[in-house]
């Protein structure tokens, strides 16, 4: 193991200095430590008899629920149902939000057309539209996809418009003095310059998409992680609710890591 560069300041001093870098090992072990602590407290509450098992299942019960549901194939089915809906909804939303958002931040005319409407819609709580969507579309896959699209699209639009609006005008000017035309400026300056910001936006809005997914599944669905959770409530199987929450968390963590890798791979030049 390579030893970190020696610092004249003690470790305690370094950890207390605002914005100072801390050793990687310390960062990692602190992160793991907090997880261990949370699980230990949970175990203490369950096995120490501090909590009513009807409301707080123990870790082994939650794992048991996962094994039980995985055994009869329901878990796989429900996870896949959720993943399918979220990927579809998120893809549809991003497919339109990224180009329109970039154009919105780039061309005043597009912004003038789209922004007022967007700013009206994006303050409407998506949840209030769920009954309407059920009425219009039913309770199938399309309805849940619609909820996700409706929830993420307008947020993405505004955030991505900001990304392209914040591209430095100096870069555009430099490209013009090098002979770039307007098309070049959009394709070879605004596009690449916006890429890291767009990926960041997608990463953040993916988190929100999970929220809307569960909202949609809690209200009306016959499969998915939100549905399992709801079943758990009806059957008073708290372990099943916990399991659904844990799986959503894990899937969220995985998608977040994917976006983080994607950013490092597609935009290694960005800070």
């Amino acid at each position: 193991m390579a030893s970190p560069p020696r610092s004249r300041r003690s470790l305690a001093q370094r950890c207390l200095t605002p914005k100072a870098e801390i050793p990687r090992g310390i960062a990692l072990s602190t992160g793991v430590g907090v997880w261990v602590l949370v699980i230990a407290l949970w175990m203490l509450a369950c096995y120490g008899g501090l909590a009513n098992p009807i409301f707080l299942p123990s870790p082994d019960q939650v794992i048991g629920a996962a094994v039980r549901l995985a055994g009869d194939g329901r878990l796989g089915r429900d996870v896949w149902a959720s993943v399918q809906v979220i990927l579809l909804g998120f893809a549809v939303s991003s497919l339109f939000a990224v180009p329109v958002g970039l154009l919105m931040g780039t061309f005043g005319l597009v912004r003038a057309a789209v922004e007022p409407l967007t700013n009206f819609i994006r303050y409407l709580p998506v949840t209030s539209f769920v009954p309407l969507f059920i009425l219009w579309i039913g309770i199938g896959l399309q309805e849940r996809v619609t909820v996700i699209v409706f929830g993420t699209f307008f947020q993405q639009l505004v955030m991505i418009a900001d990304v392209s609006r914040n591209v430095s005008g100096d870069l555009l000017n430099a490209s013009y003095t090098l002979g770039a035309n307007r098309r070049d400026a959009v394709l070879h300056v605004l596009g690449p310059a916006s890429l890291p910001g767009v990926l960041d936006t997608l990463r953040v809005t993916m988190g929100w998409a999970w929220t809307y997914l569960v909202v949609a599944e809690l209200v009306a669905a016959s499969s998915g992680l939100g549905y399992i959770s709801m079943q758990g409530l009806r059957g008073f199987q708290v372990d099943q609710i916990f399991m659904a929450i844990a799986i959503i968390g894990i899937l969220g963590l995985i998608t977040d890591q994917i976006f983080s890798l994607l950013r490092r791979w597609l935009a290694p030049w960005a800070a």
């Binding site: 100096d170 430099a174 013009y176 003095t177 300056v189 290694p268």
Partner: protein, 280 residues
Amino acid sequence: MRETTIALTDRAPSPVGGAAPLGPPLLRIDRVSLRYDLPKGQSVLALDTVSIDVTGGEFAVIVGPSGCGKSSLLYLVAGLVEPSDGDIFLQGEAVRGPGAARGMVFQAYTLFPWLTVWENVEFGLRRRRMPAAERRPRVAHYLDEVGLTQFAEAYPKQLSGGMMQRVAIARALANDPQVLLMDEPFGALDSQTRLSMQKLLLRVWEHNHKTVLFVTHDIDEAILLGDRVLVMSPRPGRIQESIAVNLPRPRTLAMVMEPEFIAIKRQIVGLLHGVGEEEE
């Protein structure tokens, strides 16, 4: 000195200013004014009927106090800003918008962060679809000129400020503009780096004698680099005086100690600050 200031508002049949250029002007800035609109219907006059003729191969430097509109003047020549009045001609053709014929090095760092050093220098060549076989030797040549061959594969974030400006110079030169506009390119650098950049620019210029219009607030820099120094007044910017710098070339940093250099400096300081002219 004040009284001898030449009125530059006339359209001069002979070249404007003190220098005696050898041919017809490559670049003519013809009675250009720039007015900025402010809210409430007011406006500010940034440039007041400025006329400058720059001959091919000349290194012309504009020096002036901050806020005098000297940078705006370069943006006008680049075609990035439109004048409120007057015209700018490059080889007799009126400037309408930006283009590759007027390359520019900016004060701010304007390298494209997603491109490597090599790709940055290549940017303009790619835009005009130059074949790779032609691009390669050109990029290599200009990277060598600015001493950054070893950093060809680096990204801008890995470079120091001085190195980034060297790439920006190589990028502008590789594109072979008819005029190179330089807007305080060393303004953000520390004084040591600035000196070495001046040296580098002098050396590069000796190799190609590109027509340069250079803006700075640094008087030493102006005299050291320029064939001619145009002194601007505070806002609204006007050309107060055009001073020929007859120091021999190739120039060296040591020339700042020479009597002629100091005499020119005294004259410019006098124009800019109204002092230093009493003994003359």
